[in-house]
Assembly symmetry: C2
Homo-oligomer: 365 residues x 2
């Protein structure tokens, strides 16, 4: 059979150096587990803007569409900040990938590693053992709704508009992902919106309720206003199993949850499309953290989030549960042994570089 | 001169019982400080729905428009939850008050009281001494934008739409409030939006920058994406002084900040309109907490947030700094003495009812 096709998009800032550690795991898979990947590499974000004047070239998009999975580092940085032309932003490349690949379901686990429970600004008793899966809708809502734009309205005044919009099928397909994930976890879903002030949120609530009644009555469903969700996450995070929410609330709430774990440098994410005829689905994997321009190129970044994103890739795109588990276990063991990159450094631990963290994980494997 | 005119809207759940404690402070002001208020009372939210079939009667709105200030308890509860008719929700009464009174600037302090530093789920070292003022835009954005609604689009599909919209003057007037507050505090403003994905956020950023350059260069201005804001609040809350943001982000971020303090039952808010010709401005004061139907009528609720809202009322609407300070100091002293309502109870403290908390504060006064 044809080799598994991966597209690597290292992007900006620390993207390239954390992605380099994934290359090493791929070599290991080839040598020791007899699994070969065809890896293509491309540019996205600021790197693509610099090289081609666009945040994502047509050819790169075509490569992404042809790949079995895309692995992305990070995009953005002060160098490309604040241009008022939306198409000339690093973020445009990422948004185009999400939209064109139809990656409507963004899975963002917020997990507290036992070895890192003290890294959080929250009390250890509150977050120990935390394991939440946030499912964020990723191709709809206010990110893509039309009409949008800024217009002059006379008297020196301007008006900025965006449109929050969801349809029945957009809501159902992402809610389905959440319910199915909950079935493999603790069978509990919290759906979050502002149904009390937004009709799009009311539709969200009604459609999630309907799908639940039709097909997922074995899963516990709760509705929560998003502002209350932001509070409940802090008050009692372990009440949650799976959270499903829209693109914009998901952006904020998943970042809140991620920071609660105290170790952003450890958190992976997966963005999935609809299942196709062959049982496959388009997918993009990326760490939750950003491009961290301040430490880029210094061999200081934590590669774990990107390696764990690759573990998600092995699991969701290639059904390689064994290898995904091995990689995850190796990372845990290395942390358990006291190795720490700067971002998760703590008293009594051994501070190491990106490369040395990679070495240790490879050795564990 | 005419007496100061106050409209009391106790609303639902614990609203009436916490407002009762304000009555006692008003009596005290009358007897001991020679300040007399004309207090009118009305219904809002679920209480108004039950009595009149609408969440706010025209007469009550007229009373609010005629008052120097409105004091509100809380609205909402499961009894009125989930009706699909938006006008038949308790929240509709509150939204109408905000809009019709033109209360565009919602001031939500997130303050950690020394006596309550352990009540937070965050580590004491992270939040001790926290004092943030969040200024949330309250009469614009997706809460009120048109078009909005749910429509059938064929094939059994529906579509839910809301519109996020801001104009130059809406942004400038709320940013002005934030800059002016910062001048009386630590001269630092963080403005939060998603200018990287929303044009309405880009306009927000541009207009805030412009106003800053024109009139407030003595204040430090930072721009932050709202998702990063949600993280930075948790990572290092004391980096913030004043935060200004839109209606929807403000809803979420101010609730996050409020819960971080660990004592929601202690947090007041003020909603202010534009200054009028006489130097006055329309204003509504309310606690940040909700109607807490589960403990309503049991004399368990914490009246402090409502009393502190009344202190804000004395300060902002009636220029009674001395009396506002006395009330605030009394509350701090009572907490310092170990009195705690159930929501902020801690080992070694004295648990008390709503009424007894009120008694103690009155005694302090
Ligand atoms: C970079 C930005 C466009 C993006 C978003 O807002 O979705 C990021 O914050 C994220 O959460 O992946
Ligand atoms: C009750 C609700 C309409 C309201 C809002 O969303 O503004 C509340 O959450 C608040 O923050 O005051």
């Amino acid at each position: 059979p044809a080799n598994k096709k991966l597209l690597f998009l290292p992007g900006d800032g620390i993207g390239p150096e954390v992605m380099r550690q994934v290359r090493r795991v791929i070599d290991w898979l080839d040598r020791k587990r007899n699994v070969t990947f065809d890896v293509t590499e491309g540019l996205v974000g600021g790197a693509a803007l610099d090289a081609y004047g666009v945040a994502l070239k047509d050819e790169t998009l075509a490569d992404a569409l042809a790949a079995d999975a895309v692995l992305l580092g990070a995009v953005g940085g002060p160098k490309w900040d604040n241009p008022s032309d939306y198409t000339k932003r690093p973020e445009a490349g990422l948004l185009m990938l999400r939209k064109e690949l139809g990656l409507f379901a963004n899975l963002r686990p917020a997990v507290v590693f036992d070895a890192l429970v003290d890294a959080s600004t929250l009390k250890p008793d509150v977050i120990r053992g935390l394991d939440i899966m946030i499912v964020r809708e990723l191709t709809g809502g206010v990110y893509f709704g039309e009409p949008r734009g800024i217009s002059d309205i006379g008297n020196g005044e301007r008006r900025g508009v965006n449109t929050q919009v969801y349809t029945t099928s957009e809501i159902r397909r992402v809610a389905r992902v959440a319910f199915e994930l909950a079935r493999k976890r603790n069978r509990k879903v919290h759906s979050m919106e502002k149904a009390n002030v937004m009709e799009s949120g009311l539709l969200w609530r009604q459609e999630v309720t309907k799908l639940h009644q039709e097909e997922f009555q074995d899963v516990e469903l709760h509705h929560m206003y998003a502002d209350n969700g932001a509070m409940q996450l802090l008050k009692n995070p372990r009440q949650f199993d799976v959270i499903v929410t829209d693109n914009l609330f998901g952006d904020i709430l998943s970042d809140e949850a991620a920071m609660m774990t105290g170790s952003l440098g450890m958190l992976p994410s997966a963005s999935l499309g609809a299942p196709d005829a062959n049982g496959g689905r388009k997918a993009l994997y990326e760490p939750v953290h950003g491009s961290a321009p301040d430490i880029a190129g210094k061999d200081l970044a934590n590669p774990c989030a990107t390696l764990l994103s690759f573990a998600m890739c092995l699991r969701y795109s290639f059904d390689m549960e064994a290898e995904a588990g091995m990689l995850e276990k190796s990372i845990q063991n290395v942390l358990g042994g006291g190795m720490r990159t700067a971002d998760i450094m703590a008293p009594g631990m051994a501070r190491c570089s990106t490369t040395v963290m990679g070495d240790s994980i490879l050795r564990e494997l």
